[in-house]
């Protein structure tokens, strides 16, 4: 163990930060700075039980970030280009991080020269979280600046041990973290899937119980895939029509309804029903017949674990389907709906799919990104969206 803990840590694991001033040489690229700061925090949330959220300068926060030069009021003056690049305060002293504005900061690691903001910020936030300097030279928390590695893989074993001693490992419910691609044995190796790694947008995703095992499937076009904890199962993709007896290609949405061991599949104005993984006879039926009040050509559907209700998404709106409306006692949609998707804080319009994964967390997918939804906070978790290809398809 060569890392060092300063001795204080945050009591909460959800930390808010705000950027109080910006680097003078990047005032025309604040988004780039904002992304790099987010990525620097994400490097720590990926390996610990922490999560981070940026708030506006008018809101309360745990960590304040400033770019300042020379004597900037904390008794620790900066020294101009080179030398000291930045410093930060441990949690007991407030956790703020200050960066020397006289440095030539860069947000693109491929750019020649300059000081890589991501590397320095990830280091300083280590102090903001309670880590001191490590004497392991290659550790992120070693005191000396190292030119950036393009893979952004700056947090090393020594840093991980340190941060997990303070805040534990990522919550078990995190989506499968990108694993190194060395399989446990050549037999396990599944080459990255050309279709999903090329374009990771999906039609629909589904997690169901198959013979007591949780299985997660991806549907896209006329194919489907089965996922493992680190990517795509060998032997996939397969054709939907070969294995899902009679289901159409290019599905719009899938809604598992576990209580009745049922799964509903939606496409255009029709829907199919499966019971015990067998397609029920007499389907497809019109959506309006089985789900009165729900529109055709859906984007996504799911049964929300927080209240057991079925939700349907289309464009910028969503509907809640009640199996027993208070007013009529019959299945239907209350006249309060549709409502704007923006109510689901952080979820974009025109989503592709919603998945309740085996870890019981709610994930929204759109294009090549996905969002983990915090059911309790009713908002997307900090450090999302993330890359679907990287985290789910092992690309």
């Amino acid at each position: 163990k060569r890392y060092a803990l300063q001795g204080s840590r945050w009591r909460t694991k959800t930390l808010r930060y705000k950027i109080m001033s910006w680097p003078s040489n990047l005032l025309d690229n604040k988004d780039g700075v904002r992304d790099v700061i987010l990525e620097s925090f994400k490097a720590w949330s990926d390996v610990s039980g922490l999560s981070f959220e940026e708030v506006g300068t008018g809101s309360k926060s745990n960590i304040e970030i400033r770019f300042a030069s020379g004597d900037h009021g904390d008794g620790d003056a900066f020294d101009g280009p080179g030398g000291t690049l930045a410093h930060a305060f441990f949690p007991i002293y407030g956790g703020d991080a200050h960066f020397d504005d006289s440095e030539n900061w860069k947000v693109d690691p491929r750019k020649r020269g300059g000081i890589d903001m991501f590397t320095v910020a990830a280091h300083e936030f280590g102090h903001s979280l309670g880590l001191s300097h490590s004497d392991v030279n290659e550790a992120l928390m070693a005191p000396f600046y190292k030119p950036p590695s393009l893979d952004r893989d700056v947090i090393k074993e020594d840093d991980i041990k340190a941060i997990q001693e303070l805040y534990g490992p990522p919550a078990a419910d995190a989506a499968p973290a990108p694993r190194p691609r060395q399989p446990s044995s050549p037999g396990d190796r599944q080459d990255p899937d050309p279709i999903l790694c090329q374009d990771s947008a999906v039609d629909a995703m589904l997690t169901i119980d198959v013979n007591g095992q949780k299985r997660t499937y991806v549907f896209k076009g006329d194919h489907y895939w089965r996922l493992t904890s680190s990517g795509v199962e060998k032997g996939y993709p397969r054709l939907i029509r070969e294995m899902w007896g009679g289901l159409p290609d290019n599905l719009d949405a899938i809604l598992p309804y576990e209580e009745a061991d049922r799964i509903y599949f939606f496409k255009g104005s029709q829907y199919w029903r499966m019971t015990g993984l067998k397609l029920d006879p007499g389907y497809p039926k019109p959506i309006s017949a089985g789900f009165p009040g729900i529109p055709d050509n859906l984007d996504a559907a799911f049964k929300w674990r927080a209240n057991g209700k079925m939700y349907f998404f289309k464009g910028s709106q969503y509907w809640r389907f009640d199996s027993e409306l208070e007013t009529t006692g019959r299945p239907g949609v209350s006249d309060k709906y549709p409502q704007p998707i923006s109510i689901w804080k952080g979820i974009p319009n025109n989503i592709d799919s919603v998945l309740i994964y085996e870890n019981k967390r709610t994930y929204f997918f759109k294009g090549d990104s996905y969002y983990r939804f915090n059911d309790a906070a009713f908002s997307v978790d900090a450090s999302y969206p993330r890359s679907t290809a990287e985290y789910w398809f092992g690309c």
Partner: protein, 87 residues
């Protein structure tokens, strides 16, 4: 330590200032010369160990170079003076 005495005074001052800044000594270079020189050597050894350099206690080229590398401003050693200052 003869070699240390042979170093040009500005690099001794520079080194002592650096070591004080990053928590390797509480004494600053202006204190009693011989005291500063003795503590400098043992503080140098501590810095060289932490920075992964050859531990010699001597202000050699590698050590001066390392001290000139860009770095984080937080001290490597958080002694009682650190806590007092921060409060």
């Amino acid at each position: 330590n003869p070699t240390l005495k042979d170093s040009p005074p500005e690099s001794i001052i520079e080194a002592a200032t650096y070591l004080a800044r990053y928590g390797y000594s509480s004494s600053s270079p202006t204190e009693d010369k011989s005291g500063a020189l003795v503590s400098l050597s043992s503080n140098l050894e501590e810095f060289q160990r932490f920075a992964g350099l050859k531990v010699t206690g001597v202000l050699d080229e590698a050590t001066i170079e390392k001290m000139r590398e860009p770095r984080c401003g937080v001290k490597d050693k958080l002694g009682p003076s650190y806590r007092a200052r921060r409060r």
